[in-house]
């Protein structure tokens, strides 16, 4: 006796993008009123000019609903066409209920498979890979993948090494099946983890519950280990660095973004390859940063439909994941 299985699908593609940010802008000068820092120091170290912080009544689910709704609208599908919702997040304030089920319900998606995924700042790329593979295996038809974070709930506003970096927001993508090789728009994932380095980014287990980061160690890891992940993702898709039109790394620190771009150019990426610098006005929004940056670039006209984007996320865990995608 053998089990009946759904017919596999050749591949997956992104057909919609959406994002949202809180209205409240926090400038470097605002932070300098609270901690010993200044605008130039912050720009030099992390490249951030301003960031958005949610008010206390706005939850990460609220932001997930907004970004997710926009992505569904952009895809041309109806909410009822979505059968699976994944929310990548690492900043829920309570372990249950998860964000995905209530987000789906508020968007009007009926009884989908819905779960959260925590791979911190690599979360969106992990969730995109998972969603694409659920489609390929026949477990899902249309997947809404969301990265939503309210880092401000976990920031120590007196720690000048972290409060200048992190911010709030959400980004989302709708993923569906690709029936022919030319249609495939999500490449194979290159992913992994380095659990031996877990302590370098963590939420303190004592009563403070605030985010701690060993900046130098994370910077060294990110500037040396992430470009190889990106190169592996390119190779797995059967492409070369010269094929990449736009690089969208997790917006951790502009200097890390630039280091990854520099390394890719040494390996053959074109000088004209555009590089996401959304961190400058958005800060580091963890799992939200990649879809938000891509959505902002598309809205601004700096990327066009059909272009090849390289996504690579990395962060606490430590964890990392990257893949090439076709811009919807």
């Amino acid at each position: 006796m053998s089990f009946q299985l759904p017919a596999p699908v050749p591949g997956a593609r992104i057909i919609g993008l959406g994002s949202t940010q809180p209205e409240h802008v926090v400038t470097n000068d605002d932070l300098a009123l609270r901690v010993e820092t200044n605008d130039q120091w912050i720009r030099d170290r992390v490249g951030i000019v301003e960031r958005r912080i949610a008010d206390k009544d706005t939850s990460l689910v609220d932001m997930a609903v907004e970004a997710g709704s926009r992505a569904v609208l952009d895809s041309g599908l109806a909410p009822t066409d979505i059968d699976t919702v994944l929310v990548a997040t690492c900043t829920m304030t309570a372990p249950i209920p998860n964000a995905a089920a209530q987000t789906a319900d508020r968007i009007g998606i009926k009884a989908p498979a819905a779960f959260d995924l925590n791979a911190a700042c690599a979360g969106f790329c992990y969730a995109l890979a998972t969603g694409a593979d659920l489609i390929r295996a026949g477990s899902a038809k249309n997947v809404l993948v969301i990265g939503s974070e309210k880092l401000s709930d976990w920031i120590d506003w007196d720690d000048r090494s972290t409060c200048i970096i992190f911010a709030d927001g959400a980004g989302a993508a709708v993923v569906t099946g690709a029936q022919t090789p030319d249609e495939v728009g999500v490449g194979p994932v290159s992913w992994g983890s380095a659990g031996d380095m877990a302590p370098v980014i963590h939420i303190l287990e004592d009563t403070t519950g605030k985010l701690f980061q060993e900046g130098q160690s994370v910077f060294r890891w990110a500037t040396t280990k992430i470009a190889p992940v990106a190169l592996d993702a390119i190779a797995k898709a059967g492409l070369t660095p010269a094929d990449i039109d736009v690089l969208v790394p997790h917006q951790a620190n502009l200097r890390i973004v630039e280091a990854v771009a520099k390394r890719l150019r040494k390996e053959g990426a074109r000088d004209e390859m555009r590089v996401a610098d959304d961190i400058v006005h958005s800060g580091n929004t963890s799992s939200a940063s990649i879809p938000m940056a891509l959505d902002h670039m598309r809205t601004a006209g700096t990327v066009r439909s059909g272009e090849i984007a390289l996504l690579v996320g990395f962060g606490a865990g430590l964890s990392f994941a990257g893949q090439v995608v076709r811009v919807p």
Binding site: R45, G215, Q216, S217, F219, R220, T223, A259
Partner: protein, 80 residues
């Protein structure tokens, strides 16, 4: 094995590439932070390149001890 003169010259090239400081400015008595105005993240980039170039390991806790260019040259010379 590079001698201290070769290490200083190699290190100066790395500092120039990472921080845009003329190699002539990079002498043994200079402090990375106070004289050359190099920040902690650029120090990491310098360390990573020095590791590749001289075949040494410069962990973050050791890196913090290397205050001057001369400190870095002697550390690399001893550990290469």
């Amino acid at each position: 094995m590079a001698d201290s003169t070769e290490i200083l010259a190699g290190l100066a090239e790395i500092v120039e590439e990472v921080a845009g400081i003329d190699t002539a400015e990079v002498s043994a008595d200079k402090s990375f932070v106070d004289d050359l105005d190099i920040d902690s993240l650029s120090m990491v980039e310098i360390a990573v390149q020095a590791e590749d170039k001289f075949g040494v390991k410069i962990p973050d806790d050791q890196l913090a001890e290397l205050k001057t260019v001369g400190d870095a040259v002697s550390y690399i010379e001893k550990n290469q």
